[in-house]
Symmetry: C2
Subunit: 191 residues, 2 copies
DNA sequence: AACAGACTATACCGACCGGTATAGTCCATT
DNA sequence: AATGGACTATACCGGTCGGTATAGTCTGTT
């Protein structure tokens, strides 16, 4: 039960942070939802900021792992894997619990530039882009970095769009655009 | 000086809301920055929420007007006008005061679904999309609505991306993608 | 049986939050 | 000169914020 409590508090905090927003979630609310006390929370997380950073770090790892699984599960070509990522996000966006991207939302809540929260958000998107760029390289695309950047824009834009107007199929629209961009990308000069 | 004070308070609040975030900006801070008192603020805006909504409404009108001007200033073809919008946002994103999209940020700060703040954000993006769709129709594009939606995704995504990693040219990358999407869109069946 | 450590219970702290009450100043119109 | 409305000054309200202090409970180990 000892190492479990820290994880349990973090899990509870994560859900509240994501569903209600970080600044709107007080420490007391987390403590009550987790069925514990402030003393225990502050034992494992010396400040609310630490808890917030832990939440973002956990979300980052979880999301990247999920992406990796989704990519490897697909036994198809790299190009099909790229498109499958849009399917995954389309599913994610359909969930009733969907409330936008936790990193974008956190970056919006913590406005000060170079804030640790913003840096955490930036790091996730940098890793996400790299993951897409690696796939694009495998797909034999010459301007892989540029294409990966564009796919990130489409996905981030669709997440934000779905957050505001729900169930408008923004992610499918993004995928349709992605298809065109991929098909129009230059192949590497073949031997 | 009478009608000026209301506008002055709103202007001050707008700047603080945008630069620091809405929830992080207290009424006292607005009052102090505007050089007035709480009594005057609450005379014109019966609650902070009203002030927030007024801020979003003002920002929406300002942004749409700026877009209209930019579009009409271009004496070029509708297709060139569509691309010119990306230039405008590229300039906007370069400003040292840039801190993301006020509507996306506000929607992220106010998590509760169907919150008035979220609705205001959604309304802006709906109008923005319509504006692009009208241009796409003029450009003789058959699937104008779909294309407009995709351009919105690219722009919103680039704004969010630039908010996290500054000065990476995300908006130029979005424009490059937009060119491809426009060139690959189906023309209306001509007579 | 005794000890240690994880965890709980609760009361408290100063600071700040959005919002209000009361009183007073300034100035233009009549 | 007097009235009235716009605006200021300031003190206050209850509530919540993040964070801490103190004390007690419960349980596994020796």
């Amino acid at each position: 039960m000892t190492r479990n409590l820290k994880e349990h508090i973090l899990q509870t905090a994560s859900e509240l942070f994501y569903s209600q927003g970080i600044k709107s979630t007080g420490v007391d609310a987390i403590v009550k939802a987790a069925g514990t006390t402030k003393m225990s929370l502050y034992k494992y997380f010396p400040s609310k900021d630490d808890l917030v950073l832990a939440h973002l770090s956990k979300s980052r790892a979880a999301m990247l792992a999920q992406l990796q699984i989704e990519i490897e599960a697909q036994a198809d070509t790299p190009k099909q894997k790229l498109l499958a990522i849009f399917d995954m996000f389309a599913k994610l966006v359909k969930s009733p619990d969907f409330r936008g991207c936790p990193f974008i939302n956190a970056a919006a809540e913590f406005a000060v530039e170079n804030n640790p929260v913003q840096q955490a958000a930036a790091e996730f998107y940098a890793e996400f882009r790299k993951l897409l760029a690696d796939l694009a390289v495998l797909a034999g695309i010459a301007n892989a970095e540029q294409l990966a950047g564009q796919l990130v824009l489409l996905i981030a834009g669709a997440i934000v769009d779905e957050q505001m107007h729900r169930h408008t199929g923004a992610m499918q629209n993004a995928q349709a655009a992605a298809k065109i961009l991929i098909d129009n990308s230059q192949p590497v000069a073949s031997s």
